[in-house]
Symmetry: D2
């Protein structure tokens, strides 16, 4: 209830990072850059207005296929639910790990906009794609890229 459904049209700003959870669920995560373009009357052309960055999360079969299909910089269409997340603790933990932080205040909040995707596709506005159906019954154990933890 109250889920914020949205669709992002942008480019992969990182390669998908792929791993499996302790429970054996496949996960792929990547950053997406969404650049809004506006029509400029004077130059009679489109110009970049501003860029927003999102962290996209995918799960199970979608995660495996994203890891197998998406390369850095490719244009994508991502549909899912949005969440604005404050990652206070994670940030602190990360800083501690890096030996930082004696007396430093540092960022108290680390806000990220995250999209839990239910569908992802290459944007045909910018190119062509050859699709190959994957059986959904297939086990996810033989994931296409080496599993890494976040």
């Amino acid at each position: 209830m109250n889920e914020t459904w949205t669709t992002l049209v942008g480019n992969a700003a990182t390669r998908p990072d792929f791993w499996e959870t302790a429970a054996g669920v496949a996960v792929a995560r990547f950053r997406l850059a969404v650049t809004v373009r506006r029509w400029d009357r004077r130059s009679e052309g489109w110009t970049d207005a501003h860029t927003s960055f999102y962290t996209v999360w995918t799960w199970r079969t979608l995660a495996a296929n994203v890891a197998a299909s998406v390369s850095l910089g490719e244009p994508l269409l991502v549909h899912g639910t949005l969440r604005v997340r404050e990652r206070e603790k994670e940030r602190e933990r990360e800083e501690a790990r890096q030996g930082a932080g004696e007396g430093e205040s540092g960022p108290k909040r680390w806000v990220t906009a995250e999209l839990d995707a239910v569908a992802v596709g290459h944007d045909l506005t910018r190119g062509t794609s050859a699709f190959r159906r994957v059986s959904q019954a297939k086990p996810l154990l033989n994931a296409p890229t080496g599993a890494t933890s976040p």
Copy 2:
């Protein structure tokens, strides 16, 4: 103003029909079937709830790439603006062309839900895709499929 932006997740119910307008603008049109699935507590599985059909319109480079990439039945993700259209006159014209209609009342309204797409992609939830970028400067004259009029 007041555009109805939406994203459809479904399957191509027809092959894309591709042609160029008199002004030389590439157009590709296809039908998309969107089947909502609901979780059934008793069977502990997903079951089809109902299917909606939409007419999807694409233009220019997107139209050429859709015609070159999309096959019947493939899973797609389509983002654009929605319109509910009453095609009274077209329908009448079509009937007249087919020699129908002496004294018959026939359908007075012919309502279709149409989506003017700005982005289309193969849904990676169901398979993998290999993307190949197309130069946007490329002329659309050498369109990938034979031009047909609607």
Copy 3:
């Protein structure tokens, strides 16, 4: 799964019709007109481009509040899931009731675009609104308008 979430910005084209189902669930239904407006360079102003009509369904507390708050013509913002419905049987039943149909072909399909709303509000772009919170524990039996069946 595969639900088509969308938001309509338009005007109530009918008064809400309110009733309770046999199971005692409150329902309110109305038609919404969505008129897209485009910027006209020559006249330097907005002009109406086209109008789409939707049937909006609301349930339970939302239905009671819509029936109590929404008048014909008021500007609204409606968020929910879309469905394109073919109402073949209902249409036939309706025709039969009206004594129509001996030998007539009549419309074989009756397509409507329907939105199952989860949130509805008066659009503050066009006016002001005074909000009064309603307890959700309140029974729906004392519904604000007379119950009518569809």
Copy 4:
């Protein structure tokens, strides 16, 4: 192009702050809390899953009506375009103004999720609203609340 249209269903987490720009354009800004609720099978009830905060911007007539209609805590429905913004410079300026910052590192990035709204309404899921149409020709000079600068 590539605008991220979305709809937020939540509650006003601040009162709207209303002012006019140097160019005389009315602006109203407020924070919106969006709390996702999930169905809990064990308790057979809805529980709060997580809350996202957004900064909502409204302009012109909508800004004046939002300032005149929205109170702290009221349930709202907001439709518009999303942007994830890094407010590095503003943050630094703000710190400088407050006399902070000699030698302190402080937050380098200040990320906020912002929605540029085109329509806002009280959510009738939670109560009733009485709407009063405002003439759009009306000048915005007599704004309903005292003008304050951001």
